[in-house]
Structure formats: structure tokens, C-alpha cells
Subunit: 337 residues, 2 copies
């Protein structure tokens, strides 16, 4: 296989017998091109293996063709799922996907964002928790007129693209699942309270408890922070405060792993003596031993849709539908069969 000659827009125009402008329009999905000509141009481009030169597009159009995901999440599995979804949508449309970790200053991500925007141009922005809950960030982005999408914003924002699951219903349904398995003494391990989504999961947990015949005194709330270690610690507290608990809902899989490891270490059998369910269906949940029952949200698809809608917005210069809710499902595995 040899490196194919690089063709330019002129070559394509010449081969297709149209003007350069028409070729440009075709590749920018402009509406004003007759279908026949469009097909002709696309055919010639395919035959010649033509790809528009991105730098030239950027320079001439003053657009960057870059979509940036701003995050502050140590969970690399989560991040790489988002990145995969973004990249799928981006490569379909000739865009670049970029991920950038924001470092908070005084509890706000605003400063880190401003610094980034000073250095780099972006055509669209995707925010995930906890950045998607930072109003000062959203304000800056809106001020600049940059189209943006929020993944799992805590409360529905009025503006921008919002892509989410119903965290509350999800928390409720996985708790119902535990209750249906006959557990009478339950515990919830929370994530960070700064993640609005985590609070919603907890609200769902309490809804399920309230709807059941389990008295509140048989239910414990343990403070976690999404880390494996906080799962260890939660189990230790549990041992002291409520040794009779048999069913645990951890607000994410990492804490579920921590809890299980701590339980195994203490000689407790999972799930025979202690059932644990997690949230996210991360690779962890599949590879742990025992494998972990978890509530799955389609992060990859959510990122993909966010990006597609973002590109629509960029192209049409206006936002149409903005709220997108995704369905979840419980993946039943060994930790709570």
C-alpha cells in the first residue's frame, strides 16, 4: 500500500466538472446543492480518496472543528467511555474530540476554563459531573455563545443540551431490586454531595424505602466519596453500627468493590451474608470477583448523542430539542443475584 497522492478541493472540482465552491458546500452539508451534483462530488471524492485539509478549513472558516469535554473525574473508565462516544460522533462529521481535566480553584472551575479558552479555540463543549453542575462555568460558555451539552446535570438546566438518565428512578429501581430479594436491613453508601446526581440516587433510595414495609431505623446512610477506600471505610462503620445489614447500595461501582473487598477480608461471604449492588456498570463490575450487580447507564451513547446534537447546533446556529433522557437497566450479577 502506497501513500496516496493528496488531492485538493480543486482536483475534486475539476474531476467533477463543478466549481470549487460547490465542492466546499457539499463537504459542509450546505442545503443549497442539487442532490445530483452532491452525489457526483461525493462519488469523485470517494474515488480519489479525498479528505478536506483540516488546517485550511480552520484557517479560512475561523472555526476549530474541535469539541472539548471538560471534566474532573478520576474515573478513567468513565472518561474513556465518554471519549469513545464523542469520537464516534466527531469522526462522522469531521470534528476533533478533545478531553481536558479542569482543576478547581476555590471550588470553581471557572478559572481553569478561562485559561483553556485563552489558549485554544473550541466550537462546542461537553461538560460532565461535577463540572456540569458548576454554574459559573456554564455562564462563561454561554457568554461566549459556545454551544454546549451537559451530561448528567443535577437539575435540569433551562438552556443548552441536557443528556441524562433519571437518577432518582434509577436509584429507586436498584433499591427495589434489593428489597425484592428479601433484604430487611439496608444501607446506602453515598457519593460526593457536590455531585447532584448522587443526591438524586439517594433520594430514589429513600423513596423505595418509604414505599416498602422496612422501618427507617433498619436503614443506614454511610457517607462516601466515590472512591474504593470510602467503600472500605463504609463497611467498617457498618460492622460497628449495624452488623445486621444484609443489603448495600453503593452509589457507584468503585465503592461497591471497596465494600466487597472489606467484607471478604472480614470473612463475610458475598452474596450469601451480604449482598451489594453498585451503579454505573463499570468494567470493574464485570471483572470483580464476585462480579457486581449494577445499574447500567449508556454513557457511551449519551456522549455520542450529546456530540451529535452539539454539531447540529453548531451548524444550524440554533438549539432545537434540548432534553434527552436515556433508559437504564439493572445488570444482575453475583454480588446480588
Amino acid at each position: 500500500m502506497t501513500i496516496s497522492k493528496k488531492y485538493t478541493i480543486e482536483d475534486i472540482a475539476e474531476h467533477a466538472g463543478v466549481s470549487i465552491k460547490t465542492v466546499s458546500r457539499v463537504f459542509n452539508n450546505s442545503p443549497n446543492v442539487r442532490q445530483q451534483k452532491r452525489d457526483l462530488v461525493l462519488g469523485v471524492a470517494r474515488d480519489l480518496g479525498y479528505r478536506p485539509n483540516i488546517s485550511a478549513r480552520q484557517l479560512a472558516s475561523k472555526r476549530s472543528f474541535v469539541i472539548s469535554h471538560f471534566h474532573d473525574n478520576p474515573n478513567t473508565d468513565y472518561l474513556s467511555e465518554i471519549y469513545d462516544g464523542m469520537r464516534r460522533a466527531c469522526s462522522e462529521q469531521g470534528y476533533y474530540a478533545v478531553a481536558e481535566k479542569l482543576e478547581p480553584k476555590k471550588g470553581s472551575y471557572r478559572h481553569a476554563l478561562l485559561e483553556y479558552l485563552l489558549r485554544y479555540e473550541v466550537d462546542g463543549v461537553i461538560l460532565s459531573p461535577p463540572v456540569s453542575d458548576d454554574n459559573s462555568v456554564i455562564r462563561e460558555i454561554k457568554k461566549r455563545g459556545i454551544p454546549y451539552a451537559l451530561i448528567s446535570p443535577g437539575k435540569k438546566k433551562k438552556d443548552g443540551i441536557n443528556v441524562f438518565i433519571n437518577e432518582r428512578d434509577a436509584g429507586r429501581s436498584i433499591t427495589d431490586f434489593l428489597i425484592e430479594r428479601g433484604h430487611k436491613q439496608l444501607a446506602f453508601i453515598s457519593g460526593l454531595d457536590s455531585h447532584a446526581a448522587s443526591l438524586e440516587r439517594e433520594a430514589g433510595f429513600w423513596e423505595a424505602i418509604a414505599a416498602s414495609d422496612i422501618p427507617k431505623k433498619n436503614v443506614l446512610r454511610l457517607a462516601g466519596d466515590f472512591s474504593m477506600q470510602s467503600g472500605f471505610r463504609a463497611f467498617e462503620k457498618l460492622t460497628k453500627k449495624a452488623p445486621n445489614v444484609t443489603g448495600i447500595f453503593a452509589a457507584n461501582d468503585e465503592m461497591a468493590v471497596g465494600t466487597i473487598v472489606a467484607a471478604l477480608r472480614a470473612g463475610k461471604k458475598v452474596p450469601e451474608e451480604l449482598s451489594v449492588v453498585g451503579f454505573d456498570d463499570s468494567p470493574f463490575a464485570r471483572s470483580m470477583w464476585p462480579t457486581i450487580t449494577s445499574l447500567a447507564q449508556p454513557i457511551d451513547d449519551m456522549a455520542h448523542l450529546s456530540t451529535q446534537k452539539l454539531i447540529d447546533w453548531i451548524h444550524s446556529d440554533r438549539l432545537k430539542e434540548s432534553q434527552f433522557e436515556f433508559a437504564t437497566q439493572i445488570i444482575v450479577r453475583d454480588s446480588c443475584p
Copy 2:
């Protein structure tokens, strides 16, 4: 903070009272500029907050300013450490860091690479295991004259930048560490045999055994594949074949985690009844419970140096020093104190 006006090379030239060309030379680190003028230009640029327009540079120079890391490694922690190192070096020099997963076809990554190179321009390439062991990939890159760096190549390659630790010595030293702790019955859990580095770690393991007074019959080799699951399975095999083993060296931390979880599940105390050491000092090793004694290699620094040397190579158009060995250290934690 307002968005600062975008200055161009012309503005800088005017303010500094020099020609455009001189400004360009300064920003490209060309040697032929008097130091005084260089400082002048740099000063003006700093005052005005000038940043060269990347698209324009790319278009005019026909360079991409992109350095791509090709990998095929499911370990997202490892990948993000490499990415961080690359990005540090890239942002110092105005380059872009990009990571791309290659999908093997018929045991080779060549095809995936060619497809990528057809779509994107790259100025330099970084390869990590197992891609850094694929000679067909290296050949294609050399054929195109693209500067490249290999992270942890199995055998020292004659050409290109090679950045590595002495895997054999590392394997030996962590095994020595186990032996010094008094263990007489040992096991090694291997990684994938396609990773040359893993084979070296194993060679080091056997060297340490040979240098000790432990008879070979007290030593077991268990086949793993770097995954947590293969750590579980290894422990199960161990239980059947060699229940007296008290010290385990897993070729990476994920397998060490798997082994420990399986041991805890079987009611075995770690480290009291079974000591385990890992390799890589991944976040896992720090957050597991018990925390894991592991051999640390400075992946971040290795990626940083690779990238710096790569950029040197790109700029000077010739490769100077090419072999860089990094030191390792044993991080002692609870799984083998």
C-alpha cells in the same frame, strides 16, 4: 476577564519593530536570530498575549504539530499517565498530544496504523507495548521518515528513541525483596507472552530464584494475561497445585489485585498467610485493601522524555542519543511489608 484581542504575527512584528520573518523564526526556535532580538520579540509577544495560530502554521508548513501515541492496552490508568507526560512536553513546545488505540488484524497492527496515517498527519509517533513490539508497524513508520519513540520495547531496537526500564533487573529486585522476607515457596504470575517486557520480568524472577537457595521445585509459574480475572484464576490453580506458596510476584498490579481478592475470598489472610507483590505501582496498588507492594516505573516521566526527544528529533531532523533507561523503585505497602 474579557477575551483578549487576537494578535497576529504582523502585530508582533510591528510592535517589536522587526520583520514578520524574524518573529516566525523566534517562535520556531530557529538558531539564526540574535539573542537580543529574540528576547525583544518574546517580550512583546508575552505582553500582548500572542499565540501563534496553529492552523496557519500547519497549513503553511505542511506540518501537523501532532504527536500520536499508538497503543493497545486496556489499562486506562497506564494510558492516562502516558498522556499526561506527553501533554506536558507538547504544551511546552506548541504541539498537540493525541492517543489512538490500534486494533490488531491478524496479529499485526500495521493495517490499523496505515488507515490512521491515511486520515491524519502526524509529526511524531510514540508506541507503547504491545504495539512497540510490532516490527511491521515500526517498519512502516520508518519508511515514511516519521520520527518515533518506543516506550518499553522488549528488546532494544537499533533505531528510534528507546525509553525503558531494565525490566529484568526490576523483576529480579522485586523477587529478591520477596525472598529477603523469608518466603521459601514462590509463584510468578505471568503477563501476556506477546509483551516482551513481561518475559523480561519473568527472566529476572528466575535469575533471583537461581541466585537464592530456593530449589526450583518450590517455585511455580502461572500463566496470566495482565487481567484481574487471570489473577483470580491463578490463585485457584495455586490452591490446587501448590497450597504452600506464601509469596507471589504478579507481573502487574491488576493480577495482584485479582490474586488478593481471591485469597481473601478463600479466607486467606494477606499478608499474614500470603504475601503478594505487583508491578507498575498503579492507582490500584495504592487504593486496594490491603495496599499493594509494587515495583514503580516512572511512566509519566518516560512519556515526557520520549516526547521531548521526539520534538528535538523533528526540529533538528536527526536523531542524537536514542537509548534512555529509567530507574525503578519498590514501593513497600501492606501486601508484603
